[in-house]
């Protein structure tokens, strides 16, 4: 299971990368493996707000469907529209081309509530 060190992680298996107040969000390698082949995504639009506990979208594979929850608050500034045509990128490259959203953070401090790579790996082991 790939768990890049430099990223932050949510309890619900999303990863977050913060650069200059903007957070890029996707799902982890573990999540894409659990889901199976991704077939469809519902993502928000640019300008929408996202909250820490409310789903910002839905991800579907053949056999499962899951809410996407980022664990952060902010405004959507960019959406990876490539995923509408090629949702399989999420399986192939969950941390790279499989990114989903970029969000301008309302509160930079909020990211402290997310997990480090080590903490996320521990969570996976305990499950």
């Amino acid at each position: 299971m790939n768990t890049p060190e430099e990223l932050l992680y949510s309890k619900t298996h999303e990863w977050v990368k913060v650069e200059e107040g903007v957070a890029t969000v996707g799902i982890t390698d573990f999540a894409q493996d659990e889901l199976g082949e991704v077939v469809y995504l519902e993502l928000p639009e640019v300008g929408d707000t996202v909250g820490p506990d409310t789903p910002f979208g839905v991800i579907e594979s053949i056999k499962a469907v899951s809410d996407l929850i980022a664990g952060i608050t902010g405004t959507v500034v960019e959406v990876n529209t490539l995923l509408h045509e090629e949702p399989e990128r999420i399986n192939e490259d969950p941390y790279g081309e499989g990114w989903m959203l970029k969000v301008r953070l309302a509160d930079a401090g909020e990211t402290q509530l997310l997990m480090s790579a080590a903490q996320y790996r521990q969570m996976l082991e305990e499950a």
């Binding site: 077939v39 469809y40 579907e60 594979s61 053949i62 056999k63 499962a64 469907v65």
Partner: protein, 447 residues
């Protein structure tokens, strides 16, 4: 008479393996107080001969349209069922198979559904069809939910010319979800466009148009469609599948959803069930649709095959967030409809439709000549039409029965402004002498 195969020997061997002396031990986990009151007080089982005799006796107590020509329609129709339909639909590989969850073991069923979906798109001019729902009435209710899911308004405009039972089912389905069903007046036998326009001033999710409508009349669908779309609502059409061989299609008048009862397509009347709920839609509503969908794909060796697809909409995955709670489709009935449409082909369905059209027209023309009969509606019509009789409809039907005919549907219970109204249906099965007999009986009543 039971269908289990256990010999005493088998049973003993199986119990030995389980280390118990009797089958009763396997029910030890059921509390005693439940066991005590569980005896089934039903008559003893009958032999095959006795069951058949009993059901034959009960069947003989019914008036049936194989012996009595029927003029009763109102959502269930005495159309001819070709022999090839019955023959193929009794093949036990179709009858006794299950939902195609293991596609490799169910390519027959899956391909039939794919063909069914395709034929319905061709018939209706719509983009996508699902694998069927229970019946026309619940299909209308499901269509309403689809329209509501893409709207902010809880209002659905429902003309009085929509089948009263469908309106009742729609009401039952939506009652607890704070959905507002608003009736549209239809006193001339078709939608009152002014009233529709008034109601459409405020935001609404969808308007329903049934064509032909419950009275048999054809609505001004293009006009209704323009009005509804201009005001930002969706159009839900309820159609008659046989009519679409001749009548304008939901696709042509830009319906967003088009639903129907498919019983007319090779499924007998059978006291109104099982039926076949047909649902078709525009492409943009695909992911909101309830029910099963079959898609074409290829297998690991590149061979073409079919699978259930977009299953994440459905209850077994999405559970409480599913687009609907529906779990079955009307598989065998969808097969019947598919075979029917293939057996008849474009010329065959057109011929059925033309026969219905011409025969209904002839009957109404002759009734129009009778002094005591009123024809309350002047709109064009298909297969069914409304008359107002000189006597209450049930009396008229009584006289028709004496003459060996099954009369129409009395409208009074559903439409108090048509106190002597009678809805008559004429299908391709009706011969001229039967039509003339109907006219004779009514002529007598008028003198």
């Amino acid at each position: 008479m039971g269908y289990w195969p256990h010999t005493e020997d088998d049973t003993r061997q199986m119990l030995d393996r389980l280390g118990t002396g009797s089958v009763e031990d396997l029910f030890a986990d059921i509390p005693e107080e439940l066991r005590q009151s569980a005896d089934l007080e039903l008559p003893p089982g009958l032999s095959e001969m006795e069951v058949e005799a009993r059901l034959q006796r009960l069947a003989d107590l019914n008036l049936s349209s194989d012996r009595t020509p029927s003029f009763l329609g109102a959502g269930c129709y005495d159309h001819y069922v070709p022999a090839v339909v019955s023959s193929l639909c009794t093949r036990s590989e179709f009858v006794t198979s299950y939902t195609p969850y293991q596609p490799e073991a169910s390519q027959g069923t899956l391909q039939v559904i794919y063909e069914f979906q395709s034929l319905l798109c061709d018939l209706t001019g719509m983009d996508v069809a699902n694998a069927s729902l229970y019946d026309g009435a619940s299909a209308l209710a499901e269509a309403a939910f689809v329209a509501l899911s893409v709207s902010h308004s809880p209002r659905i405009l429902v003309p009085e010319s929509v089948h009263p039972a469908y309106r009742a089912v729609l009401d039952t389905y939506t009652h607890r979800s704070h959905i507002e069903l608003e009736p549209v007046r239809c006193r001339s036998g078709v939608i009152d466009l002014n009233h529709l326009s008034d109601l459409a001033q405020a935001p609404f999710a969808a308007a329903v148009v049934q064509n032909p409508n419950f009275f048999g009349c054809l609505e001004e669908c293009a006009v209704v469609s323009r009005l509804v779309h201009e005001r930002g609502g969706r159009l839900i059409s309820v159609f008659d599948p046989i009519s679409l061989a001749l009548v304008e299609t939901p696709g042509e008048y830009d319906a967003d959803l088009a639903v129907a009862e498919g019983q007319a397509l090779g499924i007998g009347q059978s006291l109104g069930g099982p039926g076949l709920g047909i649902m078709t839609a525009k492409q943009d509503l695909l992911r909101r649709l309830p029910g099963r969908l079959v898609g074409a794909t290829t297998d690991v060796n590149g061979k073409p095959g079919y699978v259930l697809t977009l299953q994440t909409r459905e209850q077994h995955i999405r559970r409480e967030k599913a687009t609907s709670n529906i779990c079955t489709n009307q598989g065998l009935c969808a097969l019947a409809a598919t075979v029917y449409l293939c057996a008849l082909g474009p010329r065959g369905v057109r011929a059925v439709a033309e026969l219905c059209l011409q025969k209904a027209h002839y009957t109404r023309r002759r009734l129009a000549e009778l002094a005591g009969i009123e024809l309350p509606f002047s709109a064009p019509f298909f297969k069914e039409f409304t008359v107002s009789c000189p006597a209450p409809a049930h009396q008229v039907n009584g006289r028709l029965r004496e003459a060996g005919l099954l009369g129409g549907y009395p409208l009074r219970r559903d439409f108090d402004w048509l106190p002597n109204g009678l809805l008559l249906c004429v299908t391709e099965k009706r011969r001229r002498h039967e039509l003339d007999a109907l006219v004779s009986v009514l002529a007598e009543l008028c003198t």
